[in-house]
Amino acid sequence: MSMGIEFSEALLLVSGGSLLFSFFALVHFASTYNQHNRSLAILSAILIGTASLYSATISTGHGPLTSLEGAMASAIMGILELLPIVLAVVTTVLFRITLLTKRSVGASS
């Protein structure tokens, strides 16, 4: 793959992102369980989590637990690598709010 990223690493990163989301979705479904909620939506999170774990296992060639740990660690670090871009965008917006707007925003604005 271009830009110095191998296909296996790209697959691991996509799987890691997917695992990260399905992990948070599963935690959310479990934590917010109540007796009136009979939705089977949790199955979709389990399905995508299992598929992502399988692809992470293929990508690393290690066992499921090692692959799970590696994929999620890579995903968190990958997201943190976007932090400078996010900070730059937010700083630009703050700069605009501070200096370029001279009037209060009304209800109709």
Partner: protein, 167 residues
Amino acid sequence: MAIGNSFHRMGPSFERTRFGFPLMLLGMTCLILFPEDLADRESELHNSILRSVALIVPFSIGAILILRYSPTYGEPRTLGLASGWFLVAISWFILYYGKSSISLSGTTRGVLVLLGVFVSLVVVIIGTYLSEGSLGLKYESEPLSSDEEGLVRTILEMHMDGDEHGN
């Protein structure tokens, strides 16, 4: 932290919501203070999170101050605005000296992770839509009785600061 966030998001109708914020704080404390004997990969991740926290905390406080004391969204106050920009400048200073520069490969990694998150999100949304649709409407609720109507009216009037005539 994830469990605490979910508890907190449940709202005041559920008792477990009051455990949300303490659980988040506990999770954050454990994440920062207690890790020991970490392997290489885990240690790298832990350092990366700590560097990001050191960057995000002053930036977030600064952004809140700027928004609160900017002419657009809050009461304009030069001191508050200057304090906010000072904190934002500190976070950029930390970013610059932490050598967390923007790189093409790093950005590509981040975008690939976001792609995975997006794919997962779409699958969960489709799954939720299908499962909610398959449940259907089993029965229609009974209309409120006159006592229940009175109770709802009283609660609404109390929350809207109105008197018993709804004024």
